[in-house]
Symmetry: C2
């Protein structure tokens, strides 16, 4: 008998019928003797409906009032799911963030959790209840309602699992686990039975939408075993583990991640002097444009080239800022390119295996793909390539690193 925190997102609770299906699933776990805390999002569409109401009144409503408004969405779901569980003979009690109490800072619409009071939840669980908690929301020291920002329900689930010392935190989604790469690109993509937190972080930050990166970080920090599963299909999903497997048994590469939402900005012929990187990126950061890959080539003739990537929607704004910087610095030219993509091989195994980089570059060369930029971390190698080669590159790497083979580990569930 275990204590399990289960999180169901907006699509999984998007209608009364789906809420009933979720209740069936939760009731099944109760029948196995487990204690269950369920975290739910607002029914899909509800949050947008509320935001539209607000924007009919004000384009930029005060964040405090936005939180009061949108936090009602999850509260509705908690009540409906509690009813559906009671209908199945499973006593259940709903809680909003303030009732739990999930204490956050006062950064409305993007609050961070500080502390969770687990007393009432423990008492309810001991009394035989399923506890249903509204995701995405909390309350500040003054009693104001706060929200954690988009995707915050994953974070709520992980934080609750940490506070309750749950045996597992299960995130139910519309995929049945984490894959070696996107199955829409590579037919042979395989579900991973396990992945390490570090690998998951790299995969998540690369556009793998399975889990919010913040929730993964949180789970890693508090040692919460995290499992990704499909809401309406059976299966063990993917367990996100702490401990690396013995290196001998660890596959070198966990997966191939990619991101199409990248655009490249290059400033050519910048005088090579101390502080130039800051002078280029400072104004970009001040404009709240997030920068991903940054590459600076070695200087020649006291002049250097500096390239970085931004989200595509920010390209025009970034280019404008960079042109001003270029004229201030006396740089030669600014170039913008939105037809690029980033592709990464990710795996803790590469720490102990030499030659991953060369294998990657060789595989890309074999299919005639030119590499524009390279960055590496301890467990990830990323390259920027021309966008039109993306699918070809993913398939070549998936095959080169032998990810098409069946996973050898047993299911963990």
């Amino acid at each position: 008998m275990a204590l399990i925190v289960q999180k169901f997102g907006g699509t999984s609770v998007g209608s009364v019928e789906r809420i009933e299906q979720v209740a069936d699933k939760v009731a099944g776990f109760r029948d196995l003797g487990h204690d269950i805390v369920v975290v739910v999002s607002a029914m899909s569409g509800e949050t947008n409906r509320l935001i539209e109401l607000a924007q009919q009144i004000q384009e930029q409503p005060l964040p405090r009032e936005m939180d009061v408004l949108v936090s009602t969405g999850e509260q509705v779901t908690t009540a409906l799911l509690a009813m559906a569980l009671q209908k199945r003979g499973k006593p259940a009690k709903s809680y909003n963030g303030s009732q739990v109490r999930i204490l956050t800072d006062d950064a409305h619409t993007k609050a961070r959790i500080r502390e969770i009071d687990d007393a009432r939840l423990h008492a309810d669980l001991q009394a035989g209840n399923v506890v249903v908690v509204a995701g995405f929301q909390g309350v500040d020291e003054q009693g104001n309602i706060t929200t954690l920002g988009r995707g915050g329900s994953d974070t709520t689930a992980v934080a609750l699992a940490a506070a309750l010392k749950a045996d597992e935190c299960q995130i139910y989604t519309d995929v049945d686990g984490v894959y070696t790469t996107d199955p829409r690109v590579v037919d042979g993509a395989k579900r991973l039975d396990k992945i390490t937190f570090e690998e998951m972080l790299e995969m998540a930050s690369m556009g793998s939408k399975v889990l919010q990166i913040r929730a993964v970080e949180f789970a890693g920090k508090y040692n919460v075993p995290l499992r990704v599963l499909h809401s309406f299909q059976e299966g063990p999903g993917t367990l996100i583990t702490f401990e690396e497997e013995d290196a001998m048994e660890t596959p070198t590469i966990a997966g191939i991640a990619f991101n199409r939402d990248e655009a490249k900005l290059t400033i050519l012929g910048v005088p090579d002097m101390p502080g130039v990187a800051f002078k280029i990126l400072g104004p970009i950061g001040n404009a709240n444009i997030e920068v991903d890959v940054i590459v600076q080539n070695v200087a020649e003739d006291n002049s250097t080239d500096f390239t970085f990537t931004v989200s595509r929607s920010e390209l025009a704004r970034g280019e404008e800022i960079l042109k001003r910087t270029a004229s201030e610095l006396g740089a030669r030219e600014v170039r913008a390119d939105s037809r690029i993509a980033k592709i990464s091989v990710v795996g803790v195994g590469m720490r102990s295996h030499a030659g991953v980089a060369s294998q990657m570059f060789e595989a890309l060369a074999d299919v005639g793909i030119n590499i524009q930029m390279i960055t590496t971390s301890e467990i990830k190698i990323s390259v920027i390539i021309e966008e039109k080669f993306l699918e070809l590159a993913v398939r070549a790497l998936h095959s080169s690193f032998e990810l098409d083979a069946e996973p050898t580990e047993e299911s963990a569930a």
Copy 2:
């Protein structure tokens, strides 16, 4: 400069446009220098939408979860109105019942207010904010969300006015005040500038939908000056006062109230013995059927007739129960009649004026209306008549008691 609590119901905040209109009205009061606390209901239709969601899952959901569900409706309105006020340059803060904190008992879906903490609201008012409070809801000792039942927003407003020692509690509705009778029945019906609490209670209990009877009771108990006004028209409305005017100046009758939602059940030939009334009404009460008028005639030949009225929707159920009682008691017959109506003359003035009853009966006799049942209280005389004569009776009484004349008092606003 006064402290005013203003309550706007579901129709008054039924759309973004209407919320903007309410914000205009509230902003106007702020510009006059008043401190304002606004109590709002859910946008019209929203509560029913939520109840329908619940009933797709369970016909009889647990009251605790119903309260969690429907209390979101008012919370949404508070946020939207606060935004609309801020857009008009009027700082505003929204509160749900739990945040205020409006402490209630734990009778979910029909909780009663025990205590209101006015500390935060006072602080916000002093800081120059309009305070927007969700009506209809509170929180019990354990932190569970409670609701006060239908129409509870009026009660919230009055209770807040009492706690804050407000100068006036204004209830905004779709009528511009309390009338001598229903203007749809009598063209000459007049808005009253003032009415006493006792009269208002009798009018409210008789189907005058302007105010919830519970809110009127509450206002009377805590000496809260209450005013009924139209949400979107200008005008002084009707002030509900404590003190009776000097009897010389008080009109004898304040108004003519009536109720079509009555049905009559008679049990004939009941053995006249102690406890018979309880034996007849006990099973009716146990079935949660509310009884209004009760009349028992004097016994003849050790046998009596017993008549009472119930809501029309309960007639069939009441008749069935009464038939079982009749056979147990050996009564002769049960009769049911749904084609009746109740009509009352109401006025504190009748305390000091003899002859109101005879004037009433004479006015009805003059137009040939037969009286089926009579009950009286200190400030009200009610009769049950055949429904088809209702309009005729109202007009006859309105004219007989000279209510068609203009009110003589000055507007109180």
